[in-house]
């Protein structure tokens, strides 16, 4: 287990503020946060590349706060891969093994099993500058993993790659993780990536870990407005909540929104755009929240369409392109929208 106890660190324009975090053995933990949140600084502090100003780092029952990086058994893959440009792929991967004085035969064996797992046997003789982004990524992974670290740190490992390669590497990262059972901390600003990969997510903002939980917990029950926004609750309104007939009713301006949450008083009402359904006719459903409105803006998001609906409130709605086409929607179309009381989060 890796445990961060009250880590604070100030470095250049980045800051960590009292970070407390437990990461369990074998876990795939994703740190999710916007640019400048301090994610890279946190990762490099765990790796031992920065000394924390305050706090302790415990790993496998030992205090490693002051242990130099070369003795931590922690592997790291940098955002820009940091492959040694003057060495071939093979030399890059052997670099750490040679420093650890692993006998030649054993080193060769490890090199080849790693190369075959990551499908890079064909490029061992090449120099980094001749590799594609995806290939560099695999080489960087191989270089870190070949030392059999106890903990693998990935700093935005996929951010420089094409969408298609990213998605295929998601599966691959998961399968490597399962094959090796290695505890992994993966930093990203992409919520889809976080959901696709994480056992647990830690949301980071302004140097602090603001929420930790499974993807379901974090994405269903954001603890703050920042987390709600960052995890895709695009509809957020201020209101006043009170109980009415066994359910919470929130007054937002001159409309009321029903929620199954039980918070009272001044609240933020948060609704995910994909939880809202559109209809031509007033729906005859059990949904408590139904509004009439007009589509004011349409933008294409690949398989999805993002709509703005002007009603007494303005709603952002995500629907599939299929239903968008079937319903013959366009800017100016009058619609009804509805969402379940159980989809309404109160913060």
């Amino acid at each position: 287990m890796l445990e961060l106890k009250g880590i604070s660190k100030s470095w250049e324009e980045f800051k960590l503020r009292n970070v407390n975090l437990k990461i369990y053995d074998g876990e795939y933990f994703v740190i999710l946060g916007p640019t400048g949140a301090g994610k890279t600084l946190l990762l490099e502090t765990i790796a031992g590349l920065h000394k924390p100003d305050e706090g302790e780092i415990w790993f496998e029952g030992r205090n490693i706060t002051l242990t130099p990086p070369e003795h931590r058994k922690i592997g790291i893959v940098f955002q820009d891969y940091a492959l040694f440009p003057h060495m071939t792929v093979r030399e890059n991967i052997l670099f750490g093994l040679r420093l650890k004085k692993i006998p030649r035969g054993e080193a060769e064996k490890r090199l080849h099993s790693m190369a075959s797992m990551l499908k890079i046997e064909g490029i061992l003789h090449r120099y980094p500058r001749t590799l594609s982004g995806g290939e560099k990524q695999r080489v960087a992974l191989a270089r870190a993993l070949v030392l059999q670290p106890k903990l693998l740190l990935l700093d935005e490992p996929l951010s420089a790659l094409d969408e298609e390669i990213r998605r295929s590497l998601w599966d691959e990262l998961r399968s490597i993780h399962e094959k090796l059972g290695i505890t992994t901390i993966h930093v990203t600003h992409d919520q889809t990536e976080a959901v696709a990969l994480a056992d647990r997510i830690g949301v980071m903002n302004q140097g602090s870990i603001v929420q930790v939980g499974t993807p379901q917990e974090v994405f269903r029950n954001p603890r703050t407005e920042f987390i709600a926004r960052f995890t895709g609750f695009e509809n957020i309104y201020e209101g006043h909540a009170s109980e009415s007939g066994g359910i919470t009713m929130v007054k937002v301006g001159d409309v009321e929104i029903a929620s199954t949450d039980t918070k009272r008083g001044k609240v933020k009402v948060c609704i995910r755009p994909e939880d809202i359904t559109l209809y031509h006719e007033r729906p005859d459903s059990s949904a408590r929240n139904v509004f009439q409105g007009v589509i004011s803006n349409v933008s294409d998001r690949g398989p999805l369409v993002r709509l703005k609906v002007r009603s007494k409130l303005e709603f952002i709605v995500l629907i599939s392109k299929k239903s968008f086409v079937e319903m013959k929607l366009k800017t100016g179309s009058p619609v009804y929208l509805s969402f379940k009381a159980s989809s309404v989060r109160l913060i």
């Binding site: 990086p69 790291i76 870190a144």
Partner: protein
């Protein structure tokens, strides 16, 4: 395929148009460039044309001339090697670490290149002269700098060492700091990181700096003449011959120097171009 040909044609036409428009600019560039080149080419041409082959051959076998040229090559090479050994670590210190006084050190390194060379020579004599504190101690051990090859090296070193430090420093600064971080997490200590990462990645720039240092050292006259007029180096011999025997007698020596310097310089440039591929 067809579409490609169309764009190609359009580009050509565009290029021709812009060529016409910038004609004036090329005339302006050409005019000044030709003059600038003449500054360099004319003296070289005159030396080549005004010297008899017979005279050139005569100085080429003159023992005094040969030993002066040898002394120059020998001392400049020694200077370059010493600069490499001491300058590269200094350059790394300046490039890699932030510490109080770093900017001062960085600025001090530039001073020798800004001084008049005779003044630089006076400064070197003020330390190493036989009646100066350090010089006295060293001369009591039989190490003298006045009128010895050591004095020549000391003067050359003072003036040419900065070129090496600066090119090495700039090269080290260009190395991606994440490479160092990666190397550390892979088990490398600072020695490994310096010799296996920074040094190979900066080798090309360091060798280029060494060639500059060598060129600067071999052409030094002022500072060398102050501390060690003899044994003659080539620049001092040229001056001495000119003062005592006149222009006609000096020209063949100069031509010989030009030829040898050019040959060595081209060779070194080639050598320093060997890059990690």
């Amino acid at each position: 395929m067809q579409e490609r040909r169309v764009t190609y044609g359009l580009n050509l036409r565009g290029m021709a148009g812009s060529l016409r428009k910038s004609m004036g600019f090329y005339v302006f560039l050409g005019f000044f460039s030709v003059f600038a080149l003449l500054f360099v080419v004319l003296p070289l041409a005159v030396i080549f044309l005004s010297t008899e082959a017979e005279d050139l051959l005569k100085v080429a076998v003159d023992r005094n001339v040969i030993s002066a040229i040898f002394m120059s090559v020998y001392t400049a090479s020694l200077t370059t090697i010493i600069s490499l050994i001491f300058g590269v670590p200094l350059a790394f210190l300046i490039a890699r670490y932030r510490f109080p006084g770093r900017d001062v050190i960085d600025a001090i390194i530039d001073i020798p290149t800004l001084l008049p060379h005779t003044a630089a020579g006076i400064m070197v004599v003020s330390i190493l002269g036989n009646r100066q504190p350090l010089g006295r101690i060293l001369s009591s051990y039989g190490i003298s700098f006045l009128d010895t090859f050591l004095g020549i090296v000391a003067a050359q070193l003072f003036l040419s060492f900065p070129y090496l430090v600066k090119s090495a420093r700039d090269a080290f600064l260009k190395v991606d700091p994440n490479l160092e971080k990666a190397a550390r997490t892979l088990g490398g200590g600072m020695f490994t990181i310096f010799f296996k990462i920074y040094l190979p990645l900066s080798m090309h720039a360091i060798l280029t700096g060494a060639v500059l240092t060598w060129a600067r050292a071999i052409s030094e006259f002022g500072a060398v003449a102050v501390i060690a007029y003899t044994p003659y180096t080539a620049p001092v011999l040229v001056y001495e011959t000119f003062v005592t025997k006149g222009l006609e007698a000096t020209r063949p020596i100069v031509l010989l120097l030009v030829i040898i310097t050019l040959a060595i310089f081209i060779f070194l440039r080639k050598l320093s171009k060997i890059e990690y591929e």
